[in-house]
Amino acid sequence: MRVELQNVRYVYAPGTPFEVEALQGVSLAVEPDEVLGIVGGTGSGKSTLAQHLNLLLEPTSGRVIVDGVDARTLKGSELRRRVGLVFQFPEAALFAPTVEEDVAFAPRRLGLDEEEVQRRVRETLELLGARHLAGRSPFALSGGEKRRVAIAGVLAMAPEVLVLDEPTAGLDPATREDLLGVVRALREGGTPVVLVSHDLDEVAEVADRVCVLEEGKVRAVGTPEEVFYAHPEASLAPTTVRVVAPLREGHPEVGRPVRFEETLSALNGLLEGRG
């Protein structure tokens, strides 16, 4: 699936003293087989953008196009099934007495037969390493466990594109790593993922393309290599790029690695004197 924002503007509280233009003409496409990282400081418009992908927020002007069709012409429920959106702190929306029932809620509402519902519950909990929690109350889980259950609830709808807004905030490093593994697995399986994150190191590890938002505008979009090496300053580049960028002047042969493993091998090469 391909989702495209065309010149989207969004104004919060229009006509009041609190009016804020959170998106100021954003054009951006989520391609069918990619992980698109969306980064930028607080207040740059990342979450507002994420909530346009399934028209949870409707653009003040501009359009959202889903596989060539204006999203406004699609039925809302259909659109929200196809574009799965996981909010910040999604665990706040858990409500059912057990994890299993919570994850089953949305697929059941889609009118799937019970066998299919159960299959999806099993598979998504398995994918998120939360199968053992199935019979527990969501309210007796830790923060990280709740997060995984909440994400499973969205994945159980089998969305055609998944949008994750700060999914790893508050997760321990190993759980974060597992979740990034899920992101990669979805992409391999043909489901594009939009990853909104303030953690540039994690975006560097999984994104195929990166979009930098600044005050509601797209400041840069491209491969992680292009985007991060164009702005290697501390607030706009991951750790790897901040280590390599100052070396490039004297040692251009180090290249422009972004991911951890490729950075390690480039730096090892440099230290061993082979370029």
Binding site: F89, T239, L247, T263
Partner: protein, 287 residues
């Protein structure tokens, strides 16, 4: 966190925070969220708390400020029991939460910082003075009449911190105070916390080991048990301890270690870049 200031760590007298066989289970959960946890923090100590999700970190903070009540064993703040005297304890203990969006209530920064004092019925002049002082302590002079919703995440979290400082707590509980912040906001908040060091006892829960490199000690909680109480140096140099507790070295240290450059002094990516330049230089001379 450079100026390690241990002057505030007064010896003698009751410890700032302590627990003895502290045990707590959430209703409906088959295993204890905390089981037989015993520790003692001296006045002025800076203690980190790390460990996997579900390890018991947030539960510990909630027991310390009396939001939860122990099933058995006890926790003490100074010589008070937070479960039976929560209001007294909460005047001595300030808690900073993960998401700065949730804590700010007032239309202007200075009102927000004053909010807790107003509830305590502090005199107007004294209140003004304490608000001014707290805003200065977090480096937000000139922001008094700003509306909190126009601030960045790091600024909002500093407003929340100022609100705590205005109440002059002896103990600060920090529950992942940087996890919603970008790199710039994170370092702003960490710098301010570092400046408070020594004057107050701090319990800092985080998943970012790099925030604790200058802590006096780090408690590791896993599945409700206190599995380690170590110096940060010890923690970062023990790969098994890190792995068993679902922790990871920060990227800079991980890269440095993988390149065979001693991790000790390399805190920032810029430090590591200089170390690499030096090493290339010395190897070139050797050839």
């Amino acid at each position: 966190m450079k100026n390690r200031n241990d002057e505030g760590a007064r010896r003698g007298g009751p410890p700032a925070v302590s627990s003895d066989n502290l045990t707590f289970s959430y209703p409906g959960s088959e295993r204890a969220a905390l089981a037989n946890v015993t520790f003692e923090l001296r006045v002025g100590e800076y203690a980190g708390v790390v460990g996997p999700n579900g390890g018991g970190k947030s539960t510990l903070l909630r027991l310390i400020n009396g939001l939860l009540r122990a099933d058995s064993g006890n926790v003490r703040v100074a010589d008070l029991n937070p479960a039976t005297e929560p209001y007294v304890v909460r005047r001595r203990v300030g808690m900073l939460f993960q998401n700065p969006e949730n804590g700010l209530v007032a239309p202007f920064v200075e009102d927000d910082v004053a909010f807790g004092l107003e509830n305590l019925g502090v005199e107007r002049e004294e209140m003004r003075e304490r608000v001014r002082e707290a805003i200065r302590a977090v480096g937000l002079e000139g922001y008094e009449r700003r509306e909190p919703h126009t601030l960045s995440g790091g600024e909002k979290q500093r407003v929340a911190l100022a609100g705590l400082l205005a109440l002059d707590p002896e103990v600060l509980l920090l529950d992942e105070p940087t996890s919603m912040l970008d790199a710039a906001g994170r370092s702003e908040v960490l710098e301010r916390l570092e400046e408070l060091r020594g004057a107050r006892t701090v319990v800092h829960v985080t998943h970012h080991v790099d925030e604790l490199l200058d802590a006096d000690r780090v408690l590791v909680l896993n599945a409700g048990k206190l599995v380690a109480d170590v110096s940060p140096e010890r923690l970062v140099s023990d790969p098994d301890l890190l792995r068993e507790n679902r922790l990871a070295l920060p990227t800079t240290l991980r890269l440095a270690a993988a390149l065979g450059l001693g991790p000790a002094k390399l805190r920032t990516p810029e430090d590591l870049a200089s170390a690499i330049v030096q090493k290339i230089g010395s190897e070139a001379r050797a050839r």
